[in-house]
């Protein structure tokens, strides 16, 4: 699930300052489930902005998924978007981009910094589990991703900064190579770690490539 963090209020204020009618647009999928852009968060932000900009019209609406044009083309949503000067999207950054593609005359700004793909390790606490590298190797690391979870994205770890199972970058953070090692020894397959994981093809992921996948 896509995890994002809401921008500071100051930054949001600057983005919406020029507009008089602002629609806070929530998303009922990742944004709701990951507690950053569902109805509750929209409501809170509308109270905040309503108090800061007393003479602006602030409203909010939640759509099923902002990444799907069908949900944005819904009549009620269309009416709201067209009636307002600015859409403040509470979804991941796909939301505002979809809005402007479908409504070329509209202005859409992001309320969130899209952070990572991860899971809730407990209620309200999310951790990154995938770095979108485009060449998955977790079969070789017993199901744990060193690209996403190692500070150096080492493919043959651990490094010298692993202390008592924690990472030198952040003492709260587990050293994923320690976890991989522990898991391998529990499974009795520690020898499997003796091999070297070859350099992978980074051109499949990260930056600079045009990514498109066809599932038809």
């Amino acid at each position: 699930m896509i995890v994002a963090e809401r921008k500071e209020l100051e930054e949001i204020k600057e983005m919406v300052e020029p507009y008089d009618r602002i629609l806070i647009l929530g998303c009922n999928t990742c944004a709701t489930i990951r507690l950053y852009g569902g109805e509750k968060e929209c409501e809170k932000l509308s109270i905040e902005l309503g108090d800061v900009f007393k003479d602006k019209k602030i409203s909010y609406k939640v759509v099923e998924r902002q990444c799907e044009q069908e949900f944005l083309e819904d009549e009620a949503v269309k009416k709201e978007i067209e009636e307002n000067d600015c859409v403040l999207s509470m979804s991941c950054s796909i939301g505002p981009q979809t809005v402007v593609e479908i409504y070329p005359n509209s202005i859409a700004v992001p309320a969130q910094n899209t952070s990572f793909i991860g899971r809730a390790v407990e209620h309200g606490i999310f951790q990154e589990r995938c770095a979108l590298c485009g060449d998955c190797i977790i079969d070789e690391t017993f199901g744990l991703c060193p690209i996403a979870r190692c500070a150096k994205s080492l493919m043959n770890g651990p490094c010298g900064g692993s202390h008592d199972g924690k990472c030198e970058v952040d003492p709260e953070r587990d050293c994923v190579w320690q976890l991989i090692y522990d898991r391998a020894s529990r499974l009795g397959r520690i020898d499997d770690l003796l091999g070297i994981i070859e350099v992978k093809d980074w051109s499949n992921g990260m930056h600079g490539t045009r990514k498109e996948v066809k599932h038809v």
Partner: protein
């Protein structure tokens, strides 16, 4: 290895409990293990077992002897430190002579005593400032059983039972004896100096309702006071966590419990009325009835002391059954020394401003005019305070602690008491709007009562209604606002109904502080300038962590206020308990 000093029931049971993880050595100074219980006689009458449990000792000993991890050394007293002291209890007996024996001697003689007229003296050495002030708790029960057994084995016996009040739950035996014409129950305490050993038999003088009497008995059986050793219980703290927990349960560690409506009125209402009546010089009457629990009695006597402190004339009227102040006799003394009047009443007549009754102890007809009268609590409160008396209540709704007592009788009684407790039904129950539910699992993860799961057919969260306690934690946390709950109206103070004692026009009582959400708090700040959320003390929350969730909500609201440029302190978070006497209205 663990060394236990003393092979009585406690030592043996403890050895068994510890033997799973440790080697245990028991040192017993006598030649046999089993302690005092060894001497106890079976109390069965005819074919009827009266559940004295004395025979369970044999099973216990057999089990311990079979256990490979336990070694028993008899005829040897262990000297040294680092042992668990399980050396049992001692009897506090005020006197003994040829025909005045203790109940333990009676047991040792298998209940065979000479003579026809036998007297049992309860509370001999207990509840007496010269010996032991507190109640020994088990004496009434075994005296009833002993008397019952005695009549059964020798139908010619005439029995007199001298008592202060009967605190036993052996109602069947009590009723049987009460109905038997060979048994007299005499509510009196024979002064020890008035017990005279004759050449044969004993002569006593005592006072009861009919005045001073003199009587001769063939034998007197004392139910002596029982005193334990404090260090027996200290050892549990050094033991493993499992035992520390058991200790908490057995020790019935005091928890700040919120109390129910009726009792609250007695406390809060009582004080309030006193204030208004103070100038008129009329007194306050606290009325107890046959079914007043020791909790109720204690609270009323405390109320009486408080009222007396205000300079009001205070009377406490209690029934013939006695003043049920189990274990808190010093409270009675304190009240008496302050001038609170106590009356044991018969033939009570209540009118609007006066109460008339027969004062049993003096035999006079009395009439009291009162400014306010605090009645005995009602049925539901009686049940709750009964359960409280037994130590059954936990801070959780509909969750009771049963089986902390040692005897099976008491465990059974506890279980029954828990069963008759009224089920606490919530005012509101959560409901899910299926269309809005995003299946985020927030409610499933946060529900403290574990009553929400996912209905895969409906593709929405589903609240199991019977399990819902109406705390509203799911409502305040649902990111899709899919949970319907209480209608919102803005107030400047919100209080958990378990934390705040009374309805107040400025205060909105909510089912749990955890049901409060940031949006409502923010709106209230913007409307009223500030907002206050009153939550329970940490261990008091009936919804496990409702107060913690409320604190998270408050912190998050403060953060938002800070972002908006407001003072973060506009949201105030206060912990309170319904039982705190001094409270402000916010």
């Amino acid at each position: 290895m663990v060394v236990i000093k003393g092979g009585g029931v406690f030592g043996l049971s403890l050895a068994l409990a510890l033997s799973g993880e440790e080697k245990v050595k028991i040192y017993e100074k006598e030649d046999e293990v089993g302690g005092i219980v060894r001497f106890l006689d079976c109390k069965a009458t005819g074919d009827k077992c009266n559940r004295c449990n004395a025979c369970l000792l044999d099973d216990l000993i057999e089990e311990v002897k079979k256990n490979e991890n336990i070694e028993i050394i008899t005829g040897c007293e262990f000297e040294g430190e680092d042992v668990i002291d399980a050396t049992g209890y001692q009897l506090v007996s005020p006197l003994e002579s040829e025909d005045v024996i203790t109940a333990l001697d009676f047991e040792k003689a298998k209940g065979e005593v000479e003579g026809r007229k036998i007297a049992f003296l309860m509370c001999a050495g207990s509840r007496d400032e010269h010996y032991q002030e507190r109640c020994s708790r088990v004496c009434c029960t075994y005296v009833l059983r002993e008397a019952n057994k005695l009549l059964d084995s020798d139908p010619e016996k005439k029995i007199a039972i001298f008592y202060m009040d009967i605190r036993s739950d052996q109602l069947d035996v009590y009723d049987r004896l009460k109905a038997d014409e060979r048994v007299r129950f005499i509510r009196s305490r024979i002064p020890y100096q008035e017990i005279e050993q004759l050449e044969k038999g004993v002569r006593v003088k005592y006072e009861d309702e009919g005045g001073i009497k003199e009587e001769k008995f063939d034998k007197i059986v004392l139910a002596p006071g029982i005193t334990g050793k404090d260090q027996v219980f200290d050892i549990t703290e050094t033991m493993k966590s499992g035992f520390a927990l058991a200790y908490d349960l057995l020790g019935k560690k005091e928890i700040k419990l919120p109390i129910k409506e009726g009792e609250r009125q007695v406390l809060a209402g009582g004080k309030h009325e006193i204030e208004t009546e103070k100038g008129e010089g009329k007194g306050v009457v606290y009325l107890l009835d046959d079914r007043s629990s020791s909790f109720e009695t204690r609270e009323k006597v405390k109320g009486a002391i408080e009222a007396r402190n205000e300079g009001v004339d205070v009377s406490v009227l209690y029934p013939k059954k006695g003043l049920n102040l189990k274990g808190e006799e010093e409270l009675y003394k304190e009240a008496q020394s302050m001038g609170v009047k106590f009356f044991m009443y018969g033939d009570l007549n209540l009118s609007e401003d006066r109460v008339s009754f027969r004062d049993i102890l003096s035999g006079r007809e009395l009439e009291l005019e009162y400014g306010s009268m605090i009645p005995p609590s009602g049925e539901a409160e009686k049940r709750e305070s009964f359960a409280r008396d037994l130590g059954l209540l936990t801070p959780r709704k509909n969750v009771f602690l049963v089986g902390g007592d040692l005897s099976t009788d008491e465990q059974e009684r506890d279980a029954k008491a828990a069963l008759i407790m009224p089920i606490d039904e919530p005012l509101y129950k959560a409901k899910v709007d299926k269309d809005k539910c995003a299946l985020c699992l927030t409610c499933v993860r946060l529900c403290p009562h574990d009553c929400i799961d996912i209905d895969y057919g409906e593709e929405a969260a589903h609240v199991r209604e019977q399990g819902c306690f109406g705390c509203g934690i799911c409502y305040s946390n649902c990111p899709a606002r899919a949970i319907e709950f209480v209608e919102e109206e803005l107030f400047s103070t919100y209080a958990c109904e378990n934390a705040f004692p009374r309805a107040d026009p400025g205060v909105k009582l909510i089912p749990c502080s955890g049901s409060m959400d940031e949006a409502t708090l923010l709106r209230s700040v913007l409307r009223f300038g500030s907002v206050k959320l009153i939550a329970c003390y940490n261990e008091n929350c009936k919804n496990y962590d409702g107060d913690e969730r409320a604190l998270l909500t408050v912190e998050s609201t403060r953060r938002i206020l800070g972002e908006m440029g407001y003072n973060k302190d506009l949201v105030e978070f206060v912990r309170k308990s319904k039982r705190e006497v001094n409270h402000d209205s916010g």
